[in-house]
Symmetry: C2
Subunit: 335 residues, 2 copies
């Protein structure tokens, strides 16, 4: 029954398969360097709805339906839907789940949600509780900015450390059967708070949490950076990823050769996103599109993904709190 290696990392007995993924993004993400890797690019951020919130729900529900269709599954073939998002009371996930008759376990992991979902989905499948589990998440620039920061109409100037919330949704079907990359390891994050309190510099706040998980993953699994073809964090973006490399080096791990971040990959330098991308959809759509395509190449056998999340709220910032963060790691491998 013992499936843990080391103190904190799970090594799956029968590594579950990512049998299918689906992704939808907004127009800005579609124009970015990964535009061709997404299943669908929206023409505008309202997607025919009366509010950005409803557009986000529509994207998320569509991504879930799309992953079912791609895998040739019906909702009744899926034992659990694991989903969450950034909005108050995770309404994008709740209202999307309403459209499917799938038992639903709501998550809150901020921008780490897809990796929290993948880790849990793999446990539920490998543990014998499900044949098929969907992990899904979404974010939207419009819903996020007005909830966390300012009304976008106000045109508040953003500092260069700020990041651009990705408009998009993604879903992954984690299965006991089928073909595809497998989830071999999961290292669940601890909440790390280094005392930062700048809601416009999430990358610096999250980097220590990502590195805490990364180091525990390496120690537990007796692996190092050299054992992965690619190590990719969720949304540390320019400022945070630079800090992550430094923090890892201080602990004896060299990330300089094969490390990147989804927030760096998703936008081009001339797209005016300042430090790069963020949001639940950032790591989710890059994993569903680009990383899955990388794992289909013969020369890419192993990717370590670390979904990163800043677990604050506007209320906690107003009350003078610092920003607690988390990183969940999942190893994706061709076996």
């Amino acid at each position: 029954m013992e499936k843990r290696v080391g103190k904190h990392t799970i090594m799956f007995t029968n590594p579950p398969v990512i049998a299918a993924t689906a992704s939808i993004v907004g127009p800005k993400e579609g124009r970015g360097p990964l535009g061709a890797t997404f299943d669908k690019v929206l023409a505008d951020t309202y997607y025919g709805e009366s509010s950005w919130e409803k557009a986000e729900q529509k994207m998320l529900a569509e991504a879930i339906q799309m992953v079912l269709d791609k895998a040739g599954k019906k909702p009744e073939d899926v034992q659990f839907l694991l989903a969450g998002d950034l909005l108050n009371q995770t309404i994008s996930a709740n209202f999307s789940a309403r459209k499917f008759n799938i038992p639903f376990l709501g998550l809150y992991g901020a921008c780490s949600t897809m990796f929290e979902g993948l880790a849990l989905a793999a446990m539920l499948v490998d543990g014998g509780f499900a044949d098929n589990v969907i992990a899904a998440t979404s974010s939207h620039y419009g819903t996020s900015e007005r909830q966390y920061r300012y009304p976008t109409e106000q045109g508040t100037q953003r500092p260069m450390s700020s990041q651009w919330t990705v408009t998009g949704a993604a879903a992954a079907l984690v299965s006991r059967y089928g073909e595809g990359p497998r989830i071999t390891h999961a290292t669940v994050g601890r909440v790390v708070d280094m005392g930062l309190r700048d809601a416009n510099d999430m990358g610096s706040a999250m980097a220590p949490a990502a590195v805490d998980t990364l180091v525990r993953h390496f120690q537990d699994s007796a692996r190092g950076p050299q054992d992965y073809d690619l190590i990719v964090t969720g949304d540390l973006a320019r400022v945070g990823s630079t800090l992550a490399v430094q923090l890892a080096r201080a602990q004896g791990y060299d990330l300089s050769k094969n490390y990147t971040d989804c927030g760096l990959l998703i936008y081009a330098d001339d797209q005016d996103t300042h430090a790069g991308g963020s949001g639940c959809a950032c790591s989710a759509v890059v994993t569903a599109g680009h990383l899955m395509q990388q794992l289909a190449r013969p020369e890419v056998k192993r990717i370590l993904g670390i979904g990163t999340g800043a677990l604050f709220s506007p209320t906690s910032i107003y009350q003078g709190e610092t920003i607690p963060c988390i990183g969940h790691a999942v190893a994706l491998e061709q076996l």
Copy 2:
């Protein structure tokens, strides 16, 4: 490997033990009929903090520490902390988790959170991924009212269908080893939305979701109401629990003999809570206190608990949406 019975209900191979529980409540809950069943009753709702939000975090962190102490465990003995709450971005859970070095999986299940946590904790233990998992949650009348409804200072009149958010926090240690009631079955809820939109009548909105789960649990497990000494929902309170009995009867299940609701149990009629209690803490503190005490009596062998949650937000109400709801069932048994 197959641990499901029927379509949706899990029957655990080695039913995990609830090795310890801990509960803290506010003064109003302490004066209620279950006052003596809680581990700690606060003298006031600020608990020495500068805001209700910080008081809620303090209660939740203290409940987690208390359950560790009761079980004689240290944080490093616990593989996962599963927690969530009602506040935007689940800050009570996130900031409490910051105090413990335990890998953290954030949940959002609204008032069903404790039962979502117990179901998942049992899967993680029975699946071989953990020896010890803590499931925890909190709610606070002050933080909830001002976030969901009105500033309490405004003194808005509340309709008789409205419920009183329980101020409290609870934690349960779900373990592979030890003595105590065991989690034998779990039935994870589906999102059910019958089109109700009155944020002052959550009980009616949640009752169909509770009954959907209850009926699936009975069908899957080939059990019926008569197989349980007690069936208890989370926070349907007076209006919702009456409706639940009717809905169950329409599906052929008689709940009239051994059914109650945590929202009915926690306050006395003269405490002016209108329909009864609600909030994440409602089912959590009643389970941690009263239900565990019931299961220690020789004549109570089996309790079926169904945590209920209304998965809306103020934004979704403002945007004209109806209220999606969920119920997660867990069977607690002396074996």
